[in-house]
Subunit: 121 residues, 2 copies
Amino acid sequence: MAPPPGRDEQRRGIERELKRGSLELIVLHLLTPGEAYGYEIVSKLTAETNGALEVTDGTLYPVLYRLERAGFVAVRWETPERGVPRKYYALTESGREELQRLTDEWTTFARAMARLLRSRD
Amino acid sequence: MAPPPGRDEQRRGIERELKRGSLELIVLHLLTPGEAYGYEIVSKLTAETNGALEVTDGTLYPVLYRLERAGFVAVRWETPERGVPRKYYALTESGREELQRLTDEWTTFARAMARLLRSRD
DNA sequence: CAAATTATCTTGTCACGCAAGATAGTATAC
DNA sequence: GTATACTATCTTGCGTGACAAGATAATTTG
């Protein structure tokens, strides 16, 4: 028997929607200190936000691919003598600009929301 | 000839994604002062946020329907002696609870984002 | 009467988060 | 030596939701 849907799934569904359009910004931001590989980003994000902005690899890899395709990140494979090969991502100049743009956009949106929710109308 | 895609559409696309999961919250909040009808909500929202959180009716009506279906709003038709009939929406008790829940959820998310973006890592 | 305005609803499209599964190498334990 | 767990990547398919576009209808204004 499958467990009933319940509150949790609905709640998770909302978080899911809230992340929409923010993930590219999040990933670009996480690359500002320097290059990183996918698996690393997943753990970094979970750790740094105490799980509030957690993502799975099934979510992250498509994001990274979009960013690469758009020229916002540059890719470098590294095959260590022992261990699984890693794909390192680094911000490009264009990526840095995009990061700025997305940050502004997000801030504008968040401010508008905050102002609205504060209002008694 | 159709105009090329261009920056504007991408940019609009991001706003679009950012609204995801926030619209129900927005609408519920706009109903706190009292009942309102769909068309009214559209203009109200555009006016109060200077277009930052603008929605079209094609977006709003499905949201209202979802809220009605979930029991978060109660519906009342009003047919004035002259003019098009209006469908008035009002918060239910359950809707008020949902509003609180969504507000908390949004705040948590926005705080996590703000904290992350502030960090230099 | 034509055009604009108020008001609602429906259909179809596209993007994206993510669960689930595939693949593969390394390390630990039994 | 084989099972189990961890590191690391990628792919497929599903469901959801914003919104453009179009339909409908009554009223107002030019």
